[in-house]
């Protein structure tokens, strides 16, 4: 289960606040995954006191509205990433960046599909630069794209381009994963699926033996 509580002293109308919070949730908490299990209790509650004395924001599209949205996105993303970073048994955070989609929503769906893939997560834990599993998870996301436009990088190591696997330094790629695991750092998987304007992010973590151990013991 994830729970979130957000507080602000910005002054904002109820309708705009409720829309803003849902947009920020979609860009943050709804883009993380540890094990694919959607809890019975997931909940984010957000309160705006208005005690900063700022002008009341009554439109999402005003410059103040867009600025407050960006701040809200940042706080929720920071918290959402810390949940994925702390995934049960995790040794590193996985950040999946997708570009070239036809919309933000489609890019987000592909990104989350890859972040959710148990085989991709296990490969990261095994320090295996397994681009095939990444391509597979992008392919079953339910978003149509031209596989001949698929481009995949692990960190800044190019593994696939134009739908063609590339020769790459396996040891260096595996070392990139190993180093991230040693410092509980971040593994970045970059995917391009075409030339569209849509981009999106998702966060997950690697799948270790400890995840099974922790959950074999934590019983209802």
């Amino acid at each position: 289960t994830m729970l979130g509580v957000i507080t602000t002293d910005a002054s904002v109308t109820s309708d705009v606040w409720r829309k803003m919070v849902q947009v920020a949730v979609n860009r943050s908490f709804n883009q993380i995954t540890v094990d694919g299990d959607t809890s019975t209790n997931d909940c984010v509650l957000a309160l705006a006191s208005g005690l900063s004395g700022s002008n009341k924001i009554s439109s999402l599209n005003s410059s103040e509205g867009e600025h407050l949205q960006a701040c809200l996105d940042a706080v929720m993303r920071g918290l959402a990433k810390s949940i994925a970073w702390d995934g049960e048994g995790a040794t590193c955070l996985i950040e999946v960046r997708v570009t070239g989609a036809s919309s933000e929503a489609e890019a987000a769906k592909v990104a989350r599909s890859v972040a959710s893939s148990s085989l991709t997560k296990a490969a990261v834990y095994g320090r295996d630069p397994n681009w095939g599993r990444i391509a597979c998870a992008a392919g079953y996301a339910g978003i149509p794209f031209n596989p001949n436009k698929l481009k995949i990088s692990l960190g800044d190591i190019l593994l696939m381009e134009g739908g063609q696997p590339l020769p790459f330094d396996r040891a260096a790629a595996s070392d990139y994963l190993k180093k991230a695991g040693e410092i509980h750092g971040t593994v970045v998987i970059q995917i391009s699926i075409g030339d569209g304007p849509g981009s999106g992010l998702a966060w997950g973590c690697d799948l270790s033996y400890d995840y099974v151990k922790i959950n074999a013991e934590y019983t209802t």
């Binding site: 289960t1 299990d37 019975t40 600025h67 809200l72 940042a74 209802t220």
Partner: protein, 212 residues
């Protein structure tokens, strides 16, 4: 020892990876913004250990409220309660959070437990019951240890503070299998006025949110 030291005896704080932007990170989490207080304490709800398990966040004024909730059909009692409360009111004053039992799959009795807890707290704080929102996390199928929770409320209310420690203790109290607490706040200038946004979160397992 200061409460923050005591709290870190339980679990450390997560490194928060904030995206770049026109804001500065400030200390304080949910208490950084004007008007908010928080507290966390051990109320005897956790099955094992004495890590804090009850948290409370309050606002000095009627705050605009918003929420996003699981789309899991077997939604927990506090989720059903909060959805109703937000339907009935655009504002809220307090958020009570317990760890240990999720109060999910607990049927009518579980829903009654939420009502009793929100009424007890609203009486203590002199709020309208619908101004109190509730979140729970922990074992599914178990009703909350209501007697222990109700008995702890006066002390929890007395612990409320607008300090960094208040925010930090609340962030620890909402955790379950988390290895770190999760709390952050930023300050930015919106329309010529300095505003603050803070937050806390928990989560480590059963994580694939689809909230709406």
């Amino acid at each position: 020892a200061s409460p923050i030291v005591e709290m870190s005896n339980y679990i450390p704080a997560a490194p928060i990876l904030l995206p770049e932007g026109p804001w500065q990170q400030v200390p304080g989490g949910v208490t950084a913004a004007n008007g908010f207080k928080a507290a966390g304490m051990y109320g005897g709800l956790r099955a094992v250990g004495e890590k804090p398990d009850l948290a409370l966040v309050t606002c000095d004024v009627d705050a605009m409220s918003a929420g996003a909730f699981t789309t899991n059909v077997v939604a927990a009692a506090p989720v059903l309660y909060c959805k109703e409360a937000l339907d009935n009111s655009t504002t809220a004053r307090a958020i009570l959070i317990n760890a240990g039992q999720a109060n999910a799959a607990t049927g009518d009795a579980g829903y009654q437990d939420v009502i009793e807890c929100s009424h007890a707290l609203s009486e203590l704080l002199q709020f309208n019951p619908e101004q109190v929102l509730i979140e729970s996390t922990g074992v599914i199928g178990k009703r909350i240890k209501k007697e222990a929770l109700l008995k702890s409320l006066p002390n929890l209310v007395n612990l409320l503070s607008s300090t960094v420690e208040g925010a930090y203790s609340a962030a620890v109290a909402i955790t379950t299998t988390d290895l770190v607490s999760k709390s952050v706040a930023i300050e930015s200038e919106v329309g010529g006025t300095r505003i603050r946004i803070g937050g806390m979160a928990k989560g480590s397992g059963m994580i694939h949110p689809n909230m709406a």
